[in-house]
Amino acid sequence: MSEKEFEPNIIAFTCTWCGYPSANLAGVNKIPYPANVKIIRVMCSGTVDPAMVLEAIENGADGVIIIGCLIDNCHYVSGNKKAEERMERLKKLFDIVGLDSRRIRTEWINASERVRFAKTMNEFVQQIREIGPAPRMPKLVKEALTNEKIQKEVKRLIEDTGAFDCVECGKCTTVCPVAKYDTEFAPRTIVIRSMEGLVENLANDKDIWTCSTCEICNSMCPYKVDYSGFIQGMRAQARQLGNYPICSQGGLIQSFMRFMANADLPQKRLEWMTDDLKISDKGDVFYFVGCIPHFDAIFGDREELGLNKIPQSAVKLMNAAGITPVVSNSEVCCGHDLIWTGDEEDFLKLMDKNLKLIKESGAKKVVFSCPECLRTFNMDYQDFAGDLEFELVHLSDYLLNLINEGKLKFPEGTGKLSATYHDSCRLGRHSKIYDSPRDLIKAAGINLTEMQNIKDKASCCGVSAWMSCNSTAMRLQMERMQEAKSTGADCLLTFCPKCQIHLSCAISKELPIDKEKVDIPTKDMVVALAELLESK
């Protein structure tokens, strides 16, 4: 498509009180503007969810403009201000992913400003014309799913994961943290239902999305059934049958991943880099950052999180040991949240991109700070792509090694911080890394006080792959935070940025119990270590 031929599709979300009437008046006064603009009326500019904007792009829009009442003049007092804040965060995210934030615009137009309405539309259409078309998602060509096909697939899954050996002892349900609060949920019955092999079961089964895949059941099952593997596979089938999970942020996070999978976009994911950090394009050690820059933008209103400090700290620690890691702007999301929400197709695309990128960098070792990325490479990539040519190391092991080799040293007398440690499921039960973080804590001079449930029995942060964050999740989070608080430690350390987000989210607003019982800050381990390194 040549530049000249390109006619963008523009969705204009207009509020009922000013945006929509201003368009009406433009009409009454016959003030022309490009037909590219299609208006969708909403109650208030503040009704517009970031997910609606991204979905509009996903469904074929090239630009989205939101029109509300003048600031300070909102029919709903402050809806436009809220919209503006949300859209600013979304714009940041658009730039990180490479979708170009100029595709989103907010404009505050009074009901009487018909000329301004038309003028704004002209300008916006022109701007999007210049930017060019938004990336298009490939149309899903759905293979006709037959009962037999699904049954075959499920049967294969049952065999592969050992679910066949299930003797219905119910151990998994007894230990399952979700089942503890959600009385309708029982891991065992999902296995049983699937053995009945009914397609309808799978198409309507909400329980397969409820499982937090924390793998407590795996570690407790006497017959070593790979329950979470079974769930992962079942989800891919369910999705094909139109059975979708309930996703946090309206599915925004997964949507961005799909864009990364399906288009080569000019990302800006290294905005967290600072001048004092040393990174390179080629080298032996590749540091895989993961989705942190995205989360930093999405949760930009939760300042206490400071997520971008995680990659900064990781590089700082490596630099301190004389290592200049490869960090790439072309890295894409590992795909963890796609495969766990059943989107195998896009997951594989992300995997291919990452594997190619790492290969090109010449790295022999990939270091991860994020437990999910590690698990995904280690298990899922190797499952689909066979053995990888490079070594996969978690930062805890990596740093510990550097300390043992004498390359990394923490200043003496730092032992002022007292902390407790949360084993995230992806690092602990999924990757079996329990001791290195603890050794690292000791080496850095942190006073560790353990919680009641640790290592393979550690409780869950409640949410995985950004779905099913409901009251059960809240209860799990309360439970975990209570445990953490009762250690008397100053903070709760964890390696998983999502555990940090979810656990701190749970205690940040209204609480069903006394705030004092759960009031302990959650901190990323990498950040804490880097701070200790710098403290004198």
Partner: protein, 589 residues
């Protein structure tokens, strides 16, 4: 595309109607082509084109079609749903269609009238109609919410506006609670000795006189037994929603509490504090505001001692009025024009000239504004009487050895003036009354850019006004007459809804999905109207619950909910998604 718990794809028999609008649409769009393509969309049972759907014949036609096809959803492609859409919707509702299962897309204002190329306009109209078809399949039938209106009113502020409203409502037989923060009724107008347009009338509006026989009178208010007057009183708190609000007032006799169905806000305005513009030397004894000059004139009138300047008791011979003090200049005060000060200053200038015939009276103005009948004559008379009008801004007032000097431009003559002045009068503008921000917060009132309260457009139906009316100068500067007008219209509507005792409110409200809600309270924090609370979920946790009557349906809570457990009826993510999809799909599959 990952969140899909809400139902969709509902509706088995969709009816589509396209309106030609007597040529206004049919001349600019190819409606037949649209009909042709749309008829291929599954579930669309029939498409009709009519010349004018909102006409009597059009409404009959809709009803017949409804009878014939028993549509369960209807899409209309016509004008703006805000105007004639209401008529079309009514006709469909009368034939048994639930009003929430109907969608009107705007192919007139948004297509026919703004895209001159027929083919392009037609293609867009097709897209919009298709969007509508997608949308109706995502809608669910709902009923309006009946809201009871208590038969009592609260009036905040006992100025001319508040008093008029109190009288009207009380005389219609409803209880009125009138709260006034000062020790007396009357407000600003009571303190003005000569008001425009009568000019020579004394305490206008407060007494019987031939000009203002219809304005409220303090005496009448005091006599009316249905009015409970609370003087020296302040609103402490107001809780509740449309039709039923609990009010707490601090009175000298202690706290008073009562419930009301309607609220009228008549808090008026306060004058601009000229200390905020140091160049004007307010604080010098001979620099007065118009309000202070008023008191001098009143004193003169009562005692007949003549107007004397405060510093040395001498009769001023050169008097300078400075207009727009604190008005029409955002950097020094407010951007808005205070509307009454030009008229008022001219009145005072004429009065002074009458009392001191040999005085030079200057009025320094930017341009004169008096959007009232009779203003031009008033201004003309002032000129005849020798008042000197100087167009141009005053840069400053200096005070050397106690002598005042006004430095001003005369843009008509193109000169800079330095006038030695005996008395400088500042025409101070108006700002919202003290503490009105508290009322704004309590009642979730929209404010204007100038921070005055906004009254919801009186043309809107009562359900959109929530039983709260802002009248008089609380809305912004205006004259007495207009303040009284406001009072009467607001009172009329308050009386009507209290008389009916009930208002039907559209169910475009938020609700939380129990299965998804985690009780985090983010929505509670976001809601401007305090419509959401967390309630026990019976399992040791909490979930959000929306008070439908308080909810205004803005959807801010839904966007704030991380887990999308909060849903605004009609605007859930899947509903918006499907509409957008339909619009972008252009030609139906």
């Amino acid at each position: 595309m990952t969140d899909d718990t809400s139902k969709g794809n509902e509706g088995e028999a969709i009816g589509v109607f396209l309106c030609g609008c007597k040529g206004e649409i049919s001349k600019f769009l190819d409606l037949d082509a649209i009909k042709d393509l749309i008829s291929r969309v599954p579930k669309v049972k029939s498409i009709g084109i009519h010349e004018a759907l909102c006409s009597r014949e059009g409404q009959e036609y809709l009803k017949e079609e409804m009878k014939k096809h028993a549509f369960d959803r209807v899409v209309v492609g016509a004008c703006s749903p805000n105007i004639q859409g209401i008529i079309v919707g009514k006709a469909l509702e009368e034939s048994g269609l639930n009003k929430y299962l109907f969608e009107q897309v705007n192919i007139r204002e948004q297509c026919a009238w703004v895209h001159p190329e027929k083919e392009i306009a037609t293609r867009k109209a097709l897209a919009l109609v298709n969007g509508g078809i997608h949308r109706v399949q995502m809608l669910t039938a709902m009923e309006d919410i009946p809201i009871s209106i208590l038969p009592a009113a609260l009036i905040i502020g006992g100025g001319v506006a508040g008093m008029q409203a109190a009288l009207d409502i009380a005389r219609a037989g409803f209880k009125v609670h009138l709260v006034e923060r000062t020790k007396e009724l009357g407000g600003r107008a009571y303190k003005l000795s000569m008001t425009f347009p009568t000019h020579n009338c004394g305490i206008c509006c407060m007494q019987y006189c031939k000009e203002c026989v219809f304005t409220p009178k303090i005496e009448d208010v005091l006599q009316e037994k249905n009015i409970d007057i609370m003087l020296n009183s302040e609103i402490e708190d107001i809780e509740g929603g449309f039709g039923n609000r609990h009010v707490k007032v601090n009175t000298p006799e202690g706290a008073k509490e009562f419930d009301v169905g309607t609220i009228i806000i008549a808090t008026g305005s306060k004058t601009f504090d000229p200390k905020r513009i140091p160049e004007l030397k307010y604080g010098h004894p001979d620099v007065l505001t118009t309000v202070e000059l008023e008191q001098l004139i009143v004193k003169e009138r009562e005692k007949g001692t003549g107007v004397k300047r405060p510093s040395d008791g001498k009769t001023p011979k050169t008097i300078d009025f400075i207009q727009c003090v604190g008005s029409r200049d955002k950097t020094k005060g407010n951007l808005h024009c205070s509307l009454v000060c030009c008229t008022y200053a001219i009145g005072q200038a004429r009065e002074l000239k009458k009392l001191i015939p040999d005085a030079d009276v200057y009025i320094h103005y930017i341009d004169l504004r008096g959007p009232y009948r009779g203003f031009e004559e008033f201004y003309d008379a002032a000129k005849q009487e020798g008042i000197q009008f100087v167009r141009g801004r005053v840069s400053d007032v200096s005070a050397k050895d106690g002598k005042l000097s006004v430095r001003a431009e005369d843009t008509d003559a193109g000169t800079l003036l330095g006038i030695d002045s005996d008395l400088v009068v500042l025409s101070v503008g108006q700002e919202p009354a003290e503490g009105s921000d508290k009322i704004v917060k309590m009642l979730h009132i929209q404010t204007d850019i100038d921070k005055f309260m906004k009254d919801i457009n009186p043309m809107f139906p009562p359900e959109l006004r929530r039983g709260i009316y802002v009248i008089g100068c609380a809305q912004g500067p205006k004259g007495i007459r207009y303040s009284v007008d406001d009072a009467r219209t607001a009172a009329a509507e308050a009386i009507r809804i209290m008389h009916d005792g009930k208002v039907m409110m559209p169910r475009i409200t938020a609700r939380s999905d129990e299965y998804k809600c985690r009780g985090c309270g983010r929505c509670v924090e976001t809601c401007e109207y305090e419509a959401i609370s967390l309630v026990d979920d019976g399992k040791g946790g909490r979930i959000a619950k929306v008070d439908e009557i308080r909810c205004e349906g803005c959807g801010a809570c839904a966007a704030a909910c991380c887990n999308k457990a909060m849903i605004l009826a009609g605007y859930a993510i899947p509903q918006v998604r499907e509409t957008v999809k339909g619009v972008l799909e252009e030609v139906p599959p």
